[in-house]
């Protein structure tokens, strides 16, 4: 195909829009609503052009090139109309950042002894200097307003976590709405109302939380203006650098880019062009990371517990004290606990230090138990996410995709919208549920029976019982896939349930995919022969341990009865733990490191930000200590990673009978333990916004169940099973099925005798 744009002859070999072809050939056509990942929209009208033989002024972004097309992009009338259109937008959009006489001087002379609120002046827009609209206004050479201002005075929305919205700055490019619907397939945002009252947001004035927003931030990323801005980033202004890295907040280890300003980590984005990439991140990778590293409570200096109390010490002194402690302890009488979000290098040196300096093989992590080991053993047969794309049908089991595993949920939504059968078994509706042909909610006592039936049907020649759909889809589709969620780990009889799932997978020739919420648990298990945490606890109880070396894992609320505790972490220890020595460490983003993800791929993350205070990378701490102890620690090599690992599993424990709901205990309580932990910090309690989404120590109820009991949000309720009674606050959420009570407890412990567990709810009459 040959076309002409502004007298330039251009050859094209594949279909494209006029706007794309122009851009590829360095012909600039202003555009605002066009976006590479989205279907052409034609809303802003800035990209109008003239095409020979066509009436009027077609928009370049919606017009596909045709052979012989003759396009003009820069005639006088086009330029005039573009300017007028921009003036229309400017009449509604505050323009002090562009039109003020002092625009030049303002940023230069901002330094003053007055307070921040004043020095930021009238340039209050968080996207100032990073705004696509500013660039358009500049490119059109507009310096004055020609129309009277029609400020809309829409109330600013600050009530949702992670991002604020000021739709007075919105130019209605629709990019947020489209990325949410077309790309992320979340269907939260839409244009609302008409005429001058047109605005954007979830239907029926719902908050984003209530509208099941995933807080993936795609809308914020693609917004060309300051209408949507990150709460944690809005003060920083334009980042200086965008550097590639890897997210450490779950086993998917997504690619991300880290935004820095003067070597401070100010935010994270999905890879790609910053205003364009919708990305596949979840709320953790998109919003929590920079908040994590910038937490004000970070430990900044080494501390030693003198008789009089804690004192700040230099690293030299800290080292001396550590050597003293280590020398004091007899070989084999130490135990080390590691955070599963440490990177491979950190785990390697920790392990080497434990072996060579502490002479112990007792290495564990507070998350490691039999259930987890069984899960991880099965997960070692997990296919890669890429393989999952070839699935012919999908079954997700106990995967709660709310606020996590976004690449997995996006893949499910994508496949399911291409008419691939998708069934879901679980206790919460998540972002994929709308796409499920069937959604099963097993009641308490029903989980194993449910799986037995599937298995029974699969083994029979022809399926004909209660869940024919699941059996049929699994049995009759090629490349069936089962996605098993880590929420299964907190279920009673987890190991036997996993065993059943294994048989289902085998019987139906399904691939399995099993993510987990830890940044580098796969790496930890590939490097270290861990022992279950319970074993260490038992040894402590039997007084067989003198030194507890905690690396990014706080494990205990108070000293469990050991002589010495060394606490090496970036976040402070629980108040009553009272470690003898506190060593401040760097976090993700402050040192280089590698992670092993669910796909068994090694992912790198880089040091991009300055370290806080006197903190040192874990690796450095171990190397320095080893030097003082005159021990040599070998270097890390990826060859050390075990490809296959057999876990030392105990024989299947005895099964516990889980009762079914009854008249007295009509609800099924399901407990999902908060596993969003990074270097001992629980995201639900440590990050305000995340805590709004995944509320710890609350019970979640369906609105109609709550109504029946007369509950409002945040009211106290007493949850009782036949054996236990406990008090929690109520949260009403539409994504909880009727008859289900969902509890996320912050301490990771089961609160009731079984999970699920039949319970009743009543008001707490005080």
């Amino acid at each position: 195909m040959k076309i002409t744009i502004d007298n330039k002859k251009i050859k094209i070999d594949k279909p494209a829009t006029v706007l794309d072809v122009a851009a590829q050939n360095d012909i600039y056509i202003p555009s605002l609503c066009a976006h590479p990942e989205l279907v052409p929209y034609g809303g802003c009208r800035l990209c109008i052009v003239e095409i020979e033989g066509r009436r009027g002024y077609p928009t370049a972004c919606t017009t596909h090139v045709e052979d012989g097309m003759v396009v003009r992009t820069d005639t006088k009338i086009l330029k005039e109309m573009r300017t007028e259109l921009t003036q229309l937008i400017l009449s509604e959009h505050p323009s002090a950042c562009m039109m003020c006489d002092d625009v030049e001087g303002c940023s230069v002379f901002q330094g003053t002894i007055r307070k921040v609120g004043i020095t930021t002046g009238c340039r209050w827009c968080p996207k100032d200097k990073d705004c696509e609209f500013q660039r358009i206004v500049e490119s059109l050479g507009i310096h004055d307003l020609t129309l009277p201002g029609l400020y809309r005075d829409i109330p600013i929305e600050k009530y949702d976590p992670f991002f604020d919205r000021d739709y007075n700055l919105c130019i209605y490019c629709g990019r947020c709405v489209r990325i949410c619907n077309e790309y992320r397939k979340s269907s939260v945002l839409s244009l609302k109302q008409r005429g001058k009252f047109t605005t954007i947001g979830p239907a029926f004035e719902a908050t984003h939380i209530d509208a099941n927003c995933e807080f993936c931030g795609a809308c914020v990323s693609v917004c060309p203006t300051g209408a949507m801005s990150e709460k944690s980033r809005k003060w920083w202004g334009v980042p200086e650098k965008y550097e590639a890295s890897t997210c450490p907040l779950c086993s998917l280890n997504c690619d991300i880019q880290v935004l820095t300003l003067k070597d401070k980590i100010v935010g994270t984005l999905p890879p790609g062009v910053p205003h364009e990439a919708g990305g596949e991140l979840c709320v953790k990778g998109r919003f929590c990371l920079s908040e994590l590293v910038n937490r004000t409570t970070r430990i900044l200096e080494p501390q030693f517990k003198y008789k009089e109390g804690y004192g700040f010490v230099s690293w030299e002194v800290a080292n001396e004290k550590a050597v003293e402690i280590v020398k004091e302890v007899k070989p084999g009488r130490s135990a080390m606990l590691l955070s599963p979000s440490l990177n491979l290098e950190e785990i390697h040196f920790a392990k080497q230090f434990a072996e060579k300096a502490l002479h112990t093989e007792l290495i564990s992590s507070s998350c490691i138990n039999e259930n987890l080991l069984a899960y991880m053993e099965m997960a070692s047969h997990s296919v890669s996410l890429n393989d999952l794309k070839k699935a012919g049908c999908l079954l997700s089991i106990f995967l709660d995709g709310n606020y996590k595993y976004a690449p997995v949920t996006m893949l499910i939504k994508d496949l399911a919208s291409k008419v691939i059968p998708y069934c879901q078994i679980g206790w919460t509706k998540d972002t994929t549920t709308r796409f499920a042909t069937h959604f099963y909610v097993p009641k308490s006592g029903d989980v194993e029976g449910f799986l037995d039936k599937i298995l029974f049907n699969l083994k029979k020649e022809k399926a004909k019982t209660k869940q024919p759909i699941i059996t049929e889809t699994l049995a009759e589709t090629k490349n069936s896939a089962m996605i098993i969620g880590p929420e299964i780990m907190s279920l009673t009889n987890c190991i036997s349930i996993l065993d059943k799932l294994k048989q289902v997978a085998k019987q139906s020739h399904s691939m399995i995919y099993m993510p987990n919420p830890y940044g580098n648990l796969d790496g930890l298990l590939a490097l270290v022969d861990v022992v279950p945490f319970d074993e260490i606890r038992k040894k402590i109880d039997k007084k067989e341990i003198d030194l507890l070396y905690l690396v990014g894992d706080s494990a205990f609320k108070k000293n469990p009865g050991v002589m010495k505790i060394i606490y090496q972490n970036a976040f402070p220890a629980p108040e009553d733990l009272q470690p003898d020595l506190i060593l401040p460490t760097a976090l993700w983003g402050e040192s280089n490191g590698r992670y092993l993800n669910t796909d068994k791929k090694i992912k790198k993350s880089y040091s991009v930000g300055d370290r806080h205070g006197y903190s040192l990378p874990h690796r450095q701490v171990f190397l320095d200590l080893a030097k003082s102890l005159k021990v040599k620690l070998p270097k890390f090599s990826a060859k050390d990673l075990r490809k296959e690992f057999q876990l030392k599993l105990k024989p299947v424990p005895e099964k516990i009978k889980v009762p079914a709901p009854s008249k007295n205990y009509p609800f099924s309580l399901v407990q999902e333990n908060a596993q969003h932990v990074y270097s001992s910090l629980n995201l639900s309690t440590g990050i305000e916004g995340f805590g709004d989404l995944v509320k710890a120590d609350h019970i979640l109820l369906h609105p109609s169940d709550a109504r029946k009991q007369g509950f409002n949000n945040e009211e106290w309720a007493i949850l009782g099973s036949s054996k236990t009674e406990k008090k929690f606050r109520v949260l009403i959420r539409k994504n909880i099925p009727k008859g289900i009570v969902l509890l996320t407890s912050s301490n990771g412990q089961l609160e009731f005798e079984s999970n699920p567990c039949p319970v009743k709810i009543r008001r707490d009459h005080v």
Partner: protein, 625 residues
């Protein structure tokens, strides 16, 4: 097929028996307009009366014949006499008419409007000889008000579904040729040749194709489509079946608005009937062609009448237009080829099939063949729905059919809220798509609003632009913001706050919105402004320069005063003034406090029309010197 021929015969016999036997039949107009005028109550009276006098008569509910100003209409046919029509029947006089005419056999036919059918009565004029009707040509409205829309047998007796039978015996390409030759253009507004649209869709390969009837009718004041559906729903269904057969359609939708409950009921009822008669569903009349129609109710946004919006709305998305091409005929509902036609377009199709394209071409003028319905409203003597050949002049419509205006005529707006205003001088403009465009207006879906000297064109433009602005979907910049500025400027002009450059700004904004808007809504929105600026610029200048509204409409620019000599002191105005601005003892000239006056016009009206008042209150402009 043979079975259907039998049904046709039976229906004809029944119809003949109803109308030409000795039986007494009472026909009552029961479309929305009839009901609004009280037809439901009249119906109850008729039933009571029949019972009371033990009359052996059948009551047939018919649709609307179009003469809305005469509703409710009650026709009576008795033994020996033809069907004659009584207009403006009320609860009070219905019984009297029936008693006198049927029971007492008194000849009150002179009180009737005219007779129907071939046989006259006592020198009575034919109903269609009335001034409003005699210049009309009834094609698509042929059955309206004549047959019972709830009874498919009436429709079949009147050649109903004969067009479909003919169509099924032809090849689709043949039908397309006929439709193209007939020259019918879309009646939904844009006037796109229907034959070409069908051919495009037919030639696009796809496993599924859709046919959508656009019955959204969002123009305020327009009611042609509603009337047609309420009075003759089967005409639409027959047209849809023919269209679907021709394009290879697999599914059909009728998109209408929830505010049309009667139309929806009638349609649903008609759909049930066609299924029962084997005219819809699988293998229609043994032809092998299968088709189903569903009704979709819209929420009533004006922009949902635009075809791509309408498709989005059916798909469950927000009713918001997209850029064309691709046109729906290539990629429409669910991405499949889709024909969207207006109710009237589809309702006309059976007539073309029955009578042939040459017959159709006898109406109208080259390039604009056929007839078109219009809703004639405003300051006109005879308002209602009319059907005339395209090419008929506005003058003929307004004066001969509508009977002209009471006060001097000023302008007529064609094409609904985004149409242009046409002045007196251009009344000889023929109603064709091209000549209307030439004078700065559009055919639209056929709204005709007549205005007399009491209308202020600036106020009028403001009113329509305000409507359009509120209905803008908000997607594209010019329509969302541009119309907002236009409304602001017009409001300022009406309030006497105009600045000298306002008219230039108004013009350039209007041109911008017209040239750069995404869909037809924005592209036509400035028509009321541009056309009034073109023909009534002087009036704008008076508003801007002299703060004077010559029509005495813009409330900020007028004043109410009491002419002392004329005031009878009757206190009528005192009682209606909501703000207590008028005072004065009885029998003495009253005093009007302009500071309190909110210009609600209440006093003016009562002073002019109350018998004892003296017509003493006058409205005057405040000319700036």
């Amino acid at each position: 097929m043979n079975k259907f021929t039998t049904i046709q015969k039976q229906c004809s016999v029944d119809w003949d028996a109803l109308n030409n036997s000795g039986k007494t039949v009472i026909y009552l107009g029961m479309a929305s307009c009839g009901k609004a005028a009280g037809a439901d109550k009249v119906k109850a009276i008729i039933l009571d009366t029949i019972k009371k006098y033990k009359i052996e008569a059948e009551l047939v509910e018919v649709g609307c014949i179009g003469t809305c100003y005469l509703e409710p209409l009650m026709d009576i046919k008795t033994n020996g006499a033809p069907r004659i029509s009584f207009g403006n029947v009320t609860e009070k006089n219905a019984e009297t008419i029936i008693r006198k005419y049927i029971v007492e056999k008194e000849d009150i036919s002179k009180r009737s409007l005219g007779y129907f059918g071939p046989k006259g009565l006592n020198g009575l004029p034919g109903f269609f000889e009335q001034p409003m009707l005699k210049d009309q040509v009834r094609v698509v409205t042929k059955n309206c008000g004549i047959i019972d829309p709830g009874n498919i047998r009436h429709y079949i007796a009147n050649e109903g579904y004969a067009g479909l039978v003919k169509a099924l015996s032809k090849k689709p390409d043949e039908i397309i040729k006929e439709i193209t030759h007939a020259g019918i253009r879309g009646r939904g507004g844009a006037g796109f040749p229907t034959g070409i649209k069908w051919r495009t869709c037919r030639n696009t390969k796809s496993d599924e194709k859709y046919l959508i009837c656009n019955a959204d009718e969002g123009d305020p004041g327009a009611f042609m489509n509603r009337l047609l559906i309420e009075s003759d729903p089967h005409a639409l269904l027959e047209g849809m079946l023919i269209a679907a057969y021709t394009i290879g359609g697999t599914h059909g939708y009728i998109y209408t608005r929830a505010e049309y409950p009667l139309a929806i009921t009638r349609l649903q009822n008609a759909l049930d009937q066609v299924k029962e008669y084997g005219l819809m569903g699988k293998n229609i009349l043994g032809s092998g062609f299968s088709f189903e129609i569903k009704i979709k109710e819209g929420a009533g946004a004006f922009v949902c009448g635009e075809e791509t919006s309408l498709i989005h709305s059916i798909e469950g998305k927000r009713g918001m237009p997209r850029t064309r091409p691709p046109f729906p005929a290539v990629s429409g509902l669910n991405g499949k080829p889709t024909v969207i036609n207006n109710v009237e377009t589809l309702g006309t199709i059976p007539h073309i099939l029955r009578n042939g394209p040459e017959w159709y071409r006898q109406f109208g003028v080259e390039g604009n063949f056929g007839t078109k319905t219009f809703s004639l409203v405003g300051k006109i003597r005879r308002s209602g729905l009319i059907e005339v050949p395209l090419g008929t002049s506005l003058r003929k419509i307004i004066y001969d059919i509508g009977g002209g205006t009471q006060k001097p005529f000023k302008a007529v707006q064609t094409g609904g809220p985004s149409g242009g205003c046409i002045p007196k001088e251009l009344l000889d403009t023929p109603m064709t798509y091209e000549s209307l465009a030439k004078v700065g207006s559009i055919m639209g879906s056929g709204g005709l609003i007549v205005m007399d000297q009491d209308t202020c064109v600036v106020d009028l433009a403001r009113y329509f632009l305000d409507f359009i602005q509120k209905e803008s979907c908000g997607k594209c910049t010019p329509c969302r913001v541009g119309t907002r500025h236009i409304v602001e400027i017009l409001e300022k002009i009406c309030q006497g706050q105009a600045e000298p450059d306002f008219l230039d700004k108004l013009e350039s904004l209007s041109h911008l919105v017209k040239a750069t808007s995404l869909c037809g809504l924005g592209q036509t929105a400035p028509n009321p402004v541009l056309s009034t600026l073109r023909y009534f610029r002087q009036e704008y200048i008076q508003h801007v320069d002299e703060y004077y509204c010559p029509a005495l409409v813009c409330s900020s620019l007028i004043e109410y005063t009491v002419i002392k000599d004329k005031c009878t002191g009757c206190q009528r105005c005192v009682s209606v003034c909501p703000t207590g601005a008028i005072t004065g003892p009885r029998s003495e000239p009253h005093n009007l406090d302009i500071d309190k006056c909110i210009k609600c016009r209440a006093c003016y009206e009562i002073c002019r029309f109350d018998a004892i008042a003296g017509n003493a209150i006058v409205i005057s402009g405040r000319k700036r010197q």
